[in-house]
């Protein structure tokens, strides 16, 4: 795969992530400073629950959690492995926002969830949760394509989506079933065969 085209913001972000990873290879301290932590909040330690959307969370209301649950199930649906909602990514996101993110970042998520609801009402006259899976998917595809949404909302969504993906692949099911987890590799091999269906390692040195 060639990556020689122009630099979209996503490519720049991906590249920034690679540079951070490079810093980790040589032990460069400043590299981690790319991930900012501003603002303060506190809540109790989090363990995944089957019913996170049943009541208000630490940051999100019950209604917002229901929207988020269905966003999770839409972005990373059930395939041969469970969906992001099945592993309680929505509960995790609420928890993580309360523990590790600023009030401003928490608000990004609240805003985009409300924008998704508003768009759902406007287009379908129904809450996001009442849409068919295909309609939910289309709505989020539209969000990323800026159909009915503006660029600043896409930025908000990308922030949420990253948290969602992080939550999924650091969950036990995500790391060990969707990916391949090697707790004790037993040594390093510089070259092993790979095909387009080879899954990447879920066991990482830094997350």
């Amino acid at each position: 795969m060639s990556a020689s085209n122009n630099n979209t913001p996503q490519q720049l972000n991906e590249r920034r992530w690679f540079i951070k990873r490079l810093g980790q290879v040589i032990g460069a301290t400043g590299a981690a400073a790319l991930a900012t932590t501003a603002g303060v909040s506190s809540a109790l330690a989090y363990t995944p629950r089957p019913d996170s959307a049943a009541k208000d969370g630490a940051v999100l209301t019950k209604e917002q959690l229901i929207t988020l649950r269905d966003v999770c199930a839409t972005v990373l649906p059930k395939t041969d492995t469970p969906s992001a909602a099945d592993v309680d990514c929505h509960g995790f996101i609420d928890h993580q926002l309360s523990q590790c993110h600023s009030v401003d970042e928490q608000q990004l998520v609240v805003d985009i969830l409300e924008a998704i609801e508003a768009q759902s009402e406007q287009v379908h006259n129904k809450p996001f949760s009442a849409l068919t899976h295909a309609q939910q998917t289309q709505l989020l595809v539209d969000l990323e394509a800026l159909n009915g949404f503006v660029a600043s909302q896409k930025v908000q969504f990308k922030f949420l989506k990253q948290l969602l993906i992080f939550g999924y692949f650091t969950s036990e099911i995500g790391a060990t079933q969707a990916l391949v987890y090697q707790a004790v590799p037993g040594g390093y091999k510089g070259s092993i065969p790979a095909t387009p269906s080879t899954r990447s390692w879920g066991s990482l040195n830094y997350y």
């Binding site: 490519q11 650091t170 790979a194």
Partner: protein, 578 residues
């Protein structure tokens, strides 16, 4: 021998040797003295950490941490503001980092300093990145050759046998590359390069004959020797989660490598939770007699006595204690008749680099997490090779790897196909990262704050350190060079960066130079054996003793300096000259 038997608190015994600190250097000093039969007391400000038993996060998956290895931002704000700037700081390692609330420091207006610490038995030997390289004859000659800093009183040949000695014990993996600018270690087999790296190595060799690319050398048992295995250390499993502690004993730490040998002699005592406040100095004999200690828990004070004191509290820890040890003879810090104690503080400058995507190799992946990268040793290692507009040079670290969900998370996509694509391998990426030399400058100083104290009543350190124009120019040049090198070998979509304004000194965690060696006692604190010019029974063997930073990671050299100093000191003691 049970480790528990050797921990002491109050004692009236006069030891042969006190060692302040239990990290990389303190562990070595303890091993060497105890094996020579000296009754030795190691003093550590932090808590006891026992090998295997006290690695609570080892082997745990990310899902076992409530914030999935990230750290609660309230905790960061209140206790880990500086420590959290380290790439290695996270929820799985934070118990091995210093606490910024308890250990505050200040910086001069308009300056900044990252002081990353590890205050426990084992010090930063538990959390280090284990990159291990010898300094070369060019490095020891650098100050003399271009006139920056004072001349090292030692040369490569003085240290060479001691490098071999520590390498065989510690276990350093690496290739024997035969380069004058990066002398070979007595190494264990190297880690393998992946195919992309091998190809780039081949291309660099053709295009840049002066810039050989080698595999990173690191303190890991790639293939342990019989000796290592007899002592309970086994092969590196390539987990690369070393900073949580390693029950395989596969990387060098005090716990895995030096402490067990010292403990086995029966000559070692350890006082933990004991903050050394100052040295006890006897003016009549011009000798140090021991140390004053504040108890970490109840703030009570006590004293320990010995014939000789080795300062191994890390460059800045040692400097703080020495500056805080004043007397009529030494009003500005012990053994500081030269006035240079606290000056010439150096780090390395890791503030430039470039990377980009490599086409092809889609049918290859890697297995295991290699605990090292690739390395291009400094190619501007003597004045004839310097660039015109600045002096000295930089090494390059880096490596090639395939992308995964962490990078792909930024892309567009919703639904099953997107989910599948996140689980699949991304393109290969290759990058280079600067490891630049920092010049020794008198202005770069750490001192005691005139009024601020920590909770134990120790004066806080106050930093006045900045990058000089030389480091800035070097980083700009490095970014351009890296970009050029990557272009030449066909790397795509290259991004280069300079972060000198973003990452202050201290960020490479290689503090050096504040009690430098030298031949002239008017301009240095230590002689060529790490012995204070002013006080013969006081030694400093950590990074404070450095005259120039060179470009290589320093800890292997700290080890060699320490064992050489112990050998010298032991002989002097036997001859009754100390």
């Amino acid at each position: 021998m049970q480790l528990n038997d050797i921990f002491i608190t109050d004692t009236r015994e006069e030891y042969d040797v006190i060692i302040v600190g239990s990290g990389v250097t303190g562990g070595w000093a303890a091993k060497e003295f105890t094996e020579r039969g000296f009754k030795t007391l190691m003093i550590e400000r932090g808590r006891k950490v026992e090998h295997r038993k006290d690695y609570p996060t080892e082997g745990k998956g990310p899902w076992e941490f409530p914030e999935r290895t990230k750290v609660n931002n309230l905790l960061i704000e209140q206790q880990y503001k500086q420590q959290s700037r380290s790439y290695a700081f996270n929820d799985t390692t934070k118990h091995f980092f210093g606490n910024d609330r308890d250990l505050p420091y200040s910086t001069a207006e308009g300056t900044d300093f990252n002081w990353i610490r590890g205050n426990q038995l084992g010090g930063k030997s538990l959390t280090w990145h284990r990159q291990s390289y010898r300094m070369s004859e060019f490095d020891f000659n650098a100050n003399k050759a271009d006139g920056h800093g004072n001349d090292w009183p030692i040369r490569y040949t003085d240290l060479k046998p001691w490098y071999s000695y520590v390498e065989q014990h510690a276990g350093i993996s690496g290739n024997r590359d035969g380069l004058p600018q990066l002398p070979d270690s007595e190494s264990l087999p190297p880690f393998e390069m992946n195919s992309v790296e091998k190809e780039i190595q081949r291309q660099f060799a053709q295009i840049y004959p002066d810039r050989p690319m080698v595999i990173g050398r690191c303190a890991h048992l790639s293939v342990p020797t019989e000796y290592h295995m007899q002592h309970g250390r086994v092969m590196c499993q390539a987990r690369d989660e070393c900073q949580k502690g390693c029950s395989f004993g596969a990387y060098f730490s005090t716990q895995s490598s030096t402490l067990p040998f010292a403990a086995a002699t029966g000559n070692l005592s350890i006082a933990v939770d004991s903050i050394v406040h100052s040295l006890i100095y006897d003016e009549a004999t011009n000798r140090v007699r021991g140390v004053r200690v504040i108890d970490d828990n109840d703030l009570s004070t006590r004293e320990y006595f010995a014939k000789v004191v080795f300062m191994c509290a890390s460059t800045l820890g040692t400097t703080q204690i020495m500056l805080n040890s004043t007397s009529k003879a030494f009003p500005n810090g012990i053994a500081n008749s030269s006035g240079v104690l606290g000056h010439y503080l150096m780090d390395h400058c890791y503030n430039a680099g470039a990377g980009g995507f490599v086409e092809g190799y889609e049918d290859e992946y890697t297995s295991g997490r290699r605990p090292t990268g690739i390395y291009v040793p400094n190619f501007q290692y003597e004045p004839s090779r310097y660039k015109k507009h600045y002096v000295r040079g930089y090494a390059l670290g880096g490596g090639a790897s395939r992308g995964d969900w962490r990078g792909k998370a930024h892309g567009d996509g919703i639904g099953a196909d997107f989910k599948t694509s996140l689980t699949r391998l991304g393109s290969w990426y290759f990058g280079l990262y600067a490891q630049g030399e920092m010049l020794p400058r008198f202005e770069n100083q750490v001192s005691l704050h005139p009024t601020k104290k920590d909770k134990w009543g120790m004066p806080q350190l106050h930093f006045n350190v900045s990058w000089s124009e030389n480091e800035r120019l070097m980083m700009e040049d490095c970014a351009q060079e890296c970009e050029g090198m990557l272009k030449k070998i066909g790397v795509q979509n290259i991004n280069s960066f300079v972060s000198t304004d973003h990452n202050p000194p201290g960020s490479a965690i290689h503090e050096l130079g504040t009690a430098r060696m030298g031949r002239d006692k008017k301009e240095s604190v230590l002689n060529g054996y790490n012995q204070c010019h002013d006080i013969p029974n006081l030694f400093v063997t950590d990074g404070a003793s450095y005259c120039s930073s060179a470009t290589v990671n320093p800890s292997l050299t700290f080890m060699a300096l320490t064992v050489r100093a112990v050998d010298y000191c032991a002989k002097e003691m036997q001859q009754r000259r100390i």
